[in-house]
Symmetry: C2
Subunit: 282 residues, 2 copies
DNA sequence: CAGGTCGTTCGGCATGACCGAACGCAGATT
DNA sequence: AATCTGCGTTCGGTCATGCCGAACGACCTG
């Protein structure tokens, strides 16, 4: 019996989440982690308790207690004047440890460094996570201008060079089946949104040995990627190099492709003998 | 190695933590975050539920529920065959976001890249966190061999070049007072453990304009650091370059010191006008 | 085939996580 | 000046819920 007579049948019902994730999990912990995500998605200078409470759908007091707990452990930090909650340094530490424990990250880093030194571009390594590229390592270009390329977030497969390099390992039928489930969302005017075009592009990728993203994800940004393989012969991930299209002479694309391809080949070579289960994600 | 089943029969009393941190925090969330720390400190291939329960001091069922909740949100991941819990990719993502939101990190990265390119050494930037250097950004040396230098963990001030560069900003009296509270713990035979020696070293640091750590933290490792300053004139942090001592010709120390010093000066220059509160840590 | 461990599931109880209300305080607005 | 709205924080009370212990099947070891 909901004794709160004045609540007027609030649809909220905080306690009884009723989500599909139900038993053998701890609701308050899940709420706290969602709070971290909300702060991570919020503005750079942090969120106030009231804003957090609104986003989280809880009372202010609950949001306050959760934020305090997270701040005590360093997951959040509070700003000096008005108490706004930002991401804390514990996350820097844990993310660094976590990235360094991925065998793929350790292994790719020297290769990426060399590729960046050779091409002057930002380079990244992605693992093949259920046919989606998930970037786990990055080496920034030396120049001053750089676009932010976050780690740990899955990319769309059909707009990134790493994703297309991975998709090129599948048969046309497998690609069609996959796309039937996910669709081909448009990101720029040049994004490939028709299946036959995608298949043609993947065929070209197989011929060349590297994939190209020509302003298909972000306008003005050019990207070249190549897959690497583990000891089973399966595609474990991909390496890509990204740059501003204007800075890239068209003639250099083939050279760049070969450079990325040989970098991926180096990773493949080192991957021989490492069992697959600690490479992949599950 | 921790397999000591007999946990000294501590009277557990799980619920009533009784810690000084008591009210207005959520105990189960604090437990969950401690669980993440335990996994982060554990072996690279993860921990089992039973091991977690022992380290956490809770029952297996509680540890199970907490671990499941964390795994559902990506903070942990489970391995294929035996369910062992490792750090998850959500931490890579959050750590990357967190590091990139530190204005100091963004600002230092190009400088560190240039310094690494010029010296061939691993370079790092630390913020001045209550007179302890806390490294928030790192650029690895291009070479294959590299020692792991974690981010987000506070360093001892008197053994690291960044720490000594920060301490050199204080008066002798302030240093003495600080050391009286923390002590001078020995890390190697060359660690400075007497106050008068430390003060002499700091005086030399002020003369030179850069600090030197000559195998005082780790044997065989050499380190040079210099402080940078924000618009208030206060010391906001330090930059350091680290390498294997054997690879470094003794004559080059002065050149290296000047390179690090000029890199720190670049950061200082860019820091003018940025308010202090978003630079410092609290 | 015992004996030990593992991960997972379940019942039940008391605790603690949550909410609503209230307070002091700023900064706008009247 | 006075009012008002929003903020962060504190507190009382209560019902959900997080926790534990026990139990079960599976796996490995002796």
């Amino acid at each position: 019996m909901v004794s709160t007579g004045a609540a007027a049948g609030a649809p909220r019902q905080a306690g009884t989440t009723g989500d599909h994730e139900s038993r053998y999990t701890v609701a308050s912990v899940a709420r706290a982690l969602r709070l971290v995500d909300i702060v991570a998605g919020g503005p750079i200078d942090g969120l106030t308790v009231s804003e957090i409470a609104r986003s989280l759908g809880t009372s202010k007091s609950t949001a306050y207690a959760l934020a305090r707990t997270l701040a005590d452990q360093g997951y959040l930090r509070t700003t000096d004047p008005g108490p706004r909650y930002q991401l804390g340094l514990a996350l820097v530490r844990l993310g660094d440890v976590s990235a360094n424990r991925l065998p793929l990250g350790q292994l790719c880093r020297p290769v990426l460094h060399a590729l960046t030194a050779r091409t002057g571009l930002t380079t990244r390594a992605a693992v093949n996570d259920a046919l989606q590229p998930m970037f786990v390592e990055r080496v920034d270009a030396p120049g001053a201008i750089r676009f932010y390329t976050p780690l740990g977030v899955p990319e769309l497969a059909h707009v990134s060079s790493a994703g297309k390099a991975i998709l090129a390992e599948l048969t046309d039928e497998q690609v069609a089946e996959l796309i039937a489930g996910t669709g081909l969302t448009r990101r720029t005017p040049k994004t490939i949104t028709r299946l036959d075009e995608l298949l043609a592009d993947l065929a070209a990728t197989r011929r060349r040995g590297y994939a190209v993203d020509d302003e298909e994800d972000v306008e003005g940004v050019f990207c070249v990627g190549a897959a690497f393989y583990d000891h089973t012969g399966g595609c474990a991930g991909a390496i890509s190099a990204t740059g501003i299209k204007r800075d890239l002479p068209p003639r250099a694309v083939e050279d760049l492709g070969q450079a990325v391809r040989s970098a991926a080949a180096q990773v493949t070579e080192q991957l021989r003998g490492i069992p697959r289960r600690i490479i992949g994600l599950r």
